[in-house]
C-alpha cells in the first residue's frame, strides 16, 4: 500500500470518509433537526419561515450523503456492499423517507389549502425524524457489530437491527439533530418565533444531554469493545473530555443567548462524537458479531492503491471547490429569513 505523509492511502481514505460523514451530520443535521421540531411550531407563518430557513441549503447539505455513499463505494467496496445489503429493509425505508422529505419541502407551498399544508408539514417532520433515527440505528449497529460471514454476507435477521443499543443510538442522534436544528432556526428568526424557538432549544438541549449520558453509560457497561482503544491509549481521553466541554459550552452559550457560538459548539460536538466513533472502530470499519476474523478493516476491505490514489486526487481537487461555493451559498443567505414571492 502506498503512503502519503507516512500514512497509508487506505487510512487516508478512511479519514476522508469520516470527514465527509461529519460534514454531512453537521450540515444535514441542522435541517433534519429543523424538520424534527417543525410540528412544535403551530402558526402557518412560523412554519413557512422555518421551511425557508433551510430552503436554499438543504439540498446542498444532502449531497454530502451522496458523496459519502460514493466515497464508501469507491474506497471500501466490500464495506459498501456488505452494509447496504445487510441493512436492506432499513435502507429502503430510509430512502422512502428521503423521498418524502424532499417532496414535502417542495410541494408544501404549492397549494394554499390548510389541509394540504398540514399534510406536508406532518410528512416533512415524520420523514426527518425517521431519517435521523435510522442514521443513528445504522451507526449503533455498526458500532455493536453485525452478523457478517467471511464473505461479508449478512447472516442475521432483519429485526436484529432493532436492538436496544442501536435504538438508543438512534434516539441520541435524533436528539442531537433536534438541538442542532433548533439552534439553527433561532439564528434565522426574529420576534415571537425567535422567542418560541429559544424555548425549544432549551428543551432539546436537555433531551440531548439526557440521551447522551444514557448512551455513554450503556456503552461503558455493556459494550466493552468500544472503549478498548481509549483504555489502551489513555491520551485519547482528551476526546470525551472535549465532548463534555463542548456540550457544556452549547448550554452556556444558549443561556447567554449567543446562538451563533452555540451553533459552532454544537457542530464541534457532532464532529467530536464522530471522532470517537472513528477512534473506537479503526482499523476496523465493520465488526463481525460472528467472528472477529470476519471484520472488515481498512486493510482488507479497501480498493486498490491505484484507485485510492485517484480518489485522493479527486478529493484534493474537489473539496476546495465545494468548500468555496458552499461558503458562497451560505453567505448569500446569511441573516434572518426574509420571505419573498419566490420563497417556499
Amino acid at each position: 500500500m502506498e503512503t502519503f505523509l507516512g500514512i497509508e492511502y487506505s487510512t487516508l481514505w478512511f479519514l476522508v470518509i469520516g470527514a465527509t460523514f461529519t460534514g454531512y451530520a453537521i450540515l444535514d443535521g441542522f435541517d433534519l433537526g429543523a424538520g424534527a421540531v417543525h410540528l412544535f411550531l403551530k402558526k402557518e407563518e412560523s412554519r413557512r419561515i422555518a421551511i425557508n430557513a433551510i430552503g436554499p441549503v438543504w439540498d446542498g447539505n444532502e449531497v454530502w450523503l451522496v458523496i459519502g455513499g460514493g466515497a464508501l463505494f469507491a474506497g471500501f467496496p466490500k464495506v459498501y456492499a456488505s452494509v447496504f445489503s445487510a441493512f436492506y429493509i432499513p435502507f429502503m425505508l430510509f430512502l422512502v423517507a428521503l423521498i418524502f422529505r424532499a417532496i414535502s419541502i417542495e410541494f408544501r407551498s404549492k397549494e394554499p389549502m390548510l389541509w394540504w399544508r398540514r399534510m406536508w408539514d406532518v410528512s416533512y417532520s415524520i420523514s426527518s425524524i425517521v431519517i435521523a433515527l435510522s442514521l443513528g440505528v445504522v451507526l449503533g449497529n455498526v458500532l455493536l457489530g453485525i452478523a457478517i460471514d467471511e464473505n461479508g454476507n449478512y447472516q442475521g435477521n432483519t429485526l436484529d437491527f432493532l436492538n436496544p443499543y442501536a435504538l438508543l443510538t438512534g434516539i441520541t442522534t435524533l436528539a442531537l439533530f433536534m438541538m442542532h436544528g433548533a439552534i439553527y432556526l433561532v439564528m434565522k428568526t426574529e420576534k415571537r418565533l425567535y422567542t418560541k424557538l429559544t424555548l425549544i432549544v432549551r428543551d432539546t438541549t436537555v433531551g440531548f444531554v439526557i440521551s447522551i449520558l444514557l448512551l455513554s453509560f450503556y456503552t461503558l457497561l455493556y459494550v466493552p469493545h468500544l472503549t478498548a482503544s481509549i483504555k489502551s491509549n489513555p491520551w485519547l481521553f482528551v476526546i470525551p473530555i472535549a465532548m463534555v466541554l463542548s456540550t457544556a459550552n452549547v448550554a452556556r452559550r444558549i443561556s447567554q443567548q449567543r446562538y451563533r457560538l452555540a451553533f459552532l459548539f454544537s457542530s464541534i460536538n457532532i464532529a467530536l462524537l464522530l471522532v470517537v466513533v472513528a477512534v473506537n472502530l479503526y482499523p476496523n470499519i465493520v465488526l463481525s458479531s460472528i467472528d472477529p476474523a470476519f471484520n472488515l478493516t481498512v486493510q482488507n476491505a479497501s480498493a486498490s492503491s491505484k484507485s485510492l490514489g485517484i480518489l485522493l486526487t479527486v478529493a484534493a481537487i474537489g473539496v476546495p471547490l465545494v468548500a468555496t461555493y458552499t461558503t458562497f451559498v451560505f453567505w448569500t443567505f446569511k441573516g434572518k429569513v426574509e420571505l419573498d414571492e419566490m420563497s417556499y
Binding site: K42, K43, E44, E45, N52, G55, P56, V57, D59, G60, E62, L65, V66, I67, G69, G70, F73, A74, P77, A81, S82, F84, S85, A86, I89, F91, M92, L95, V96, L98, I99, F100, A102, I103, S109, K110, E111, P112, L114, N151, N153, A303, S304, K306, S307, I310, L311, A315, G318, V319, L321, V322, Y325, T326, V329, F333, E338, E341, M342, S343
Partner: protein
Amino acid sequence: MCRYFFIMDVEILSRIQFAFTIAFHYIYPPLSIGLGVTLVIMEGLYLKTGLKVYEDMTRFFVKIFALIFGIGVATGIVMEFEFGTNWATYSKYVGDVFGSALAAEGIFAFALESGFLGVLLFGWNKVSKKVHFLSTIMVTLGSMFSAIWIVVANSWQQTPTGFKVVGEGLDARAEITDFWAMVFNPSSVERILHVWIGAFLAGSFLVMSIAAWYLVKNKYHDFAKRAFAIGLIVALISSYAQLLTGHASAEVVAEYQPAKLAAMEGHFDTSAKADLYLFGYIDKANEKTHGVAIPGGLSFMVHQDFDAPVKGLKAFDPRDRPGNPNITFQSYHIMIAIGMLLIGLTSFAGFLWWRGTLFEKRWLMIAFVWAVFLPQIANQVGWFTAETGRQPWVVYNLLRTSDALSQSVKEGQVMFSLVLFSLVYTLLFALFIYLLNKKITHGPGGASEMHSSRQQDMVEELTGNK
C-alpha cells in the same frame, strides 16, 4: 399473477426493481439538463435585452425546473443505494473502477448543481443579476457533468478498459490500472453526447409544449412565441445532431458489442448480408426475424458495403446472447422512428417559422403540445436498448447479471421494496403531473405562488386555534 410473483427469484425481482427505479428516475434528469440549457438562453436574453418578458420566462421556467429537479434528486439517491443493497457482488466487483466515477460525480457535479440551486431558486433578491445568471449556468453545468460521470460509469460496463481482474470466483474483482483509459473507454464520448442531446430534446420539447398550449388557448402570445422559438432552435439543432451521435454510438456497438447489434437488428446468420429493418418482429424460438427491411442495409451502415457479412446472433453461445432480443429490437426501432419524427417535426416547424406562418398553424401547435412525450419515450427506449442488449452481462463479457446479486438478500425483501417503490412512485408521479399542470395553467408573470399565510393566521387567531 400472484403465483408468478412467488416463483420470481431474487435476480428477476432485483432487475425489475432496478429497471423500474432507474426508468422512473430518468424521466427527470434529462428534463433538468435540457430545461437548464434553455434557462441559460432565456436568462442570457434577459440580461442582454432587459425585456421583462424574458425575466418572466426565466422565473416561470425556474419554478418548473425546481419541481423537476426536486423529484430527480429524491429518486436519484435511491439509485446510488441500490447498487449496494441489491447488487452487492457487483459492487464489490466494480467498486475499484466504477466507484471513482461515482465519487467524481458526487463531488464535481452534484455539489455544484445542488449548491447553486439555492441561489437559482431563492437568490433573485439576494444577488446581482449577473451572479444569478452565473448560478443558472453553474446548475446547468453541474447537471451536465453529472451526466458525464454516470455515462462514463455505464459505458465502462459496456466497453470495459483500463483495468485488470484480480482474484477468482466470489473474490474476483476489477482493479483500475489506468484512470483515463477507464474514463475515455471506447463508448463513453459518443454516449455522453447522445445522452446530452437526448436531454436537450426532452427539455426543449417541454418548453415548446407549454408555449404551444398557451398559443392554442390564445394566452400570453408574446411570451409563448418567444419561448417556442427558443425551444425550437435548441430542438432543431439537437434533432439533427442526435442522428450523428446515434450513428457514432451504433458504430461502437458494432465493433465492441456485436451480440447487442445483432439483437438490435434481429440479425441471426453471420454469412448472410445483414438487412436493416424498418419494423419487424423477432421469432426467438425459430431464430428468424419478420418485417420490412432494406436488404443489406445493416451491412452498408457498418461496413459501407451492402454485401459485407455482419456477425449474427447464431455466432454466439445461446447463454451469451441477450435474453430478450425482441425488447432490444423493438426499443431500438421505436427510438429510431421517434428520432426521425423529431427531425421532420422540427424541420417543418423551422421552415414555417422562417416563412412567418408557424404560429398560425393551430394543428401544428396542438401536435407540439403532445410531442413532449416523444423525446421522453425515445430516451427511455434508448436506454432499454443499451441495457437489455448488454445482457446477459452486467459488465460486458466479464460479469454476468445473475452473478452480480446480493448474496444475503431474499425474495421477500426485494418483493417488499418493489411494492413499496411502486406505490411511492405512483403517488409521486400523480403529484408531479398535478403540480406541473397547475403551474402551467397558472401561467407566467406576477406573484404566482398563493401564500395566504397572513389570512390563515388571522383565522387561527380569531378561532383561538393556535
